[in-house]
């Protein structure tokens, strides 16, 4: 198991290297931050000067080398847009996104799994068909639309919830949480739902499909032959055996949501990393993008590792060797 972890850590480094290296190649096509930094009135000489200072006049591979040299000692540079150290900036935005994604995932699991179980057990029931229809809508409806719809109903018409922001947050060390205040919790409602709709639908369909498959397995028939209660057969045996792919998908989903909850965060002005990266792209804020992409590479590799660990925990067959 230790060799597995070490091997994975090695590939984590490789992934980070490749991702951030590629990001420097892409920057050439993303535009020029100099204009945003200096304003439209800057002269050609001033532009050239700044370009030199920032090293933007160098070829991509030289810029990448400089980035690596500094990144090794934890220095990811200063954000062009926010004028703050990049690492500090990303870390300060991370809690908002993590909290949002975690709440959405908990909601999605809490709603999606029971829905999936129900549909798997009564695939032909009227309510199952309704749920399946809803999930089809949930998978195909764009997040932006869900978010705007919620805002129109709950902010503009009913005026119950705030259309933007995180509400009041409480700082605990470097972490900031909205879960401890009323306004913070209320602010979570709409973004969490927006983010969870797709996940609920996806988890539901996944659980349903897997469980229907597992329900046909011999050990389920044998569990019935042993006289176990339906509840035990469905939940302890069938559901548990259906969860492996769910864990994989949800794990990857959490990763991509943390990295790219961009639409949802933009709609609700959620001050997380998704919004940060969106604005960084619009501004050509290269230091933020480079560091961010490297961290995303790192994050995904770590999530892969974690999912593997969870596999080991759930499925004893993989503990061998």
């Amino acid at each position: 198991m230790i060799t597995l972890v070490l091997r994975r850590l090695g590939s984590v480094l490789l992934v980070m290297l490749v991702v951030s290296g590629m990001s420097f190649l892409i920057f050439n096509y993303l535009g020029d931050p100099v204009n945003n930094i200096l304003g439209v009135n800057a002269s050609l000489n001033e532009r050239e000067e700044l370009r030199r200072t920032l090293g933007l006049d160098q070829p991509s591979y030289v810029q990448f080398w400089h980035f690596l040299q500094r990144a090794v000692v934890g220095d990811f540079g200063i954000s062009y847009r926010n004028r703050l150290p990049v690492l500090e900036l990303i870390l300060s935005r991370l809690p908002a996104t993590v909290e949002l994604v975690m709440c959405a995932t908990v909601l999605a699991l809490g709603v999606g799994i029971p829905m999936g179980v129900y549909c798997a057990l009564r695939p032909k029931g009227a309510f199952s068909r309704l749920l399946q229809m809803i999930s089809l809508v949930g998978i195909s409806i764009p997040q932006f639309l869900i978010g705007m719809l919620l805002i129109l109903i709950f902010s503009v018409e009913l005026r119950w919830l705030s259309a933007f922001g995180r509400g009041e947050v409480v700082q605990i060390g470097w972490w900031s949480t909205g879960l401890l205040t009323d306004s913070g919790r209320k602010a979570l409602i709409m973004p969490v739902i927006t983010l969870a709709v797709f996940q609920i639908s996806m988890i539901m369909r996944l659980v349903q499909g897997e469980m229907q498959e597992v329900m046909r397995a011999d050990f389920i028939k044998f569990a019935r032959a042993r006289g176990l209660t339906d509840r035990s057969v469905h939940l302890r045996h069938a559901l548990r055996n259906s969860l492996l792919p769910v864990v994989t998908v949800v794990g990857m989903q959490i990763g991509s949501l943390i990295a790219f909850a961009i639409v949802c965060e933009a709609v609700f002005q959620w001050p997380g990393v998704g919004l940060l990266i969106l604005q960084a792209i619009e501004y050509a804020d290269f230091p933020v993008m480079a560091a961010y992409l490297a961290m995303v590479g790192f994050g995904f590799a770590m999530i892969n590792l974690t999912v593997d660990m969870i596999y080991l925990f759930i499925d004893p067959r993989m503990r061998r060797g």
């Binding site: 397995a217 019935r224 032959a225 042993r226 209660t229 035990s232 004893p316």
Partner: protein, 330 residues
Amino acid sequence: MTAALALDVRDLSIVFDTRRGSMTAVQEVSFTLARGEVLGLVGESGAGKSLTGNALIGLLQAPGRIAGGEVHLDGQRIDALPPEAQRRLRGKRIGAIFQDPLTSLDPLMTVGAQLVETIRTHLPLSAPAARARAMDLLAEVGIADPAGRYGQYPHQFSGGMRQRIVIALAIAAEPDVIVADEPTTALDVSVQAQILSLLRRLARDHGTAIVLVTHDMGVIAEIADRVAVMYAGRIVEIGPVTEVLHAARHPYTAGLMGLIPSLSRRADRLPQIAGSMPRPGQWPVGCSFHPRCPSAGPRCAADVPRPLSADDGMVACHLFSGGTLSPPAP
């Protein structure tokens, strides 16, 4: 005699409800089983033997259903019980063993936990008591080092060991009857023999009646007391194993027996008998076997032969409807 019957199946019929209407798959099957007796239920695949087995344990899967007949367990009729009552019988009074031990166990649960779960579903035991019983069961089915093996997962056992665990699970609550559906088919020949002897020992020591569903006459010869031969949804012949093996009455049985030069050989098909068994829904009028029967006469294509009871057996064939149990000379 009747009081000692562990299982009494009377005129059991199974139909499948399909869009094109009902299709009969098992028709008027009757047999009895005494305590400690092993009855082999044999036939080609599609004959209806597994369906019959499933019907006995109440796990007939939709769209199949019992359309007629009765199943009595220890004198109590069980086929008409509500689902929950049937569930309570399963595992407690009527156990089951399936073909593939590799897939019969939940891969994510230790064998100990699966045993305890089964025991506590049926017996009012405390957790430690259930655990102790689980160990005893493991020992009883021949697992060495039960304490060490208790916490292991199915994948850590070999195929034969797993089938032993399946058997342990089946007998966890000391059922009166066990329906074993091809319990050795997936196993190596050497392991087969061990499992069969284990089953026979259980029948002897615990008085458990066993319905052994198989297509393998070799298995029947090794363990069964009596044999019921199924063809196209009906039992065509029942008799003591030695009699059926050596002096089959029904032409189909005779054909089957012709196939076993040695008892360890398997017989998946009946090449000596031309043609193949018709599928449910395509059964011919009259005796289902008549298109393949070397001795078929005009009557065979018109009427279904009625079962004819003998001293310790039964046969359903027009050859015997004259009243004697020896076939008329051709």
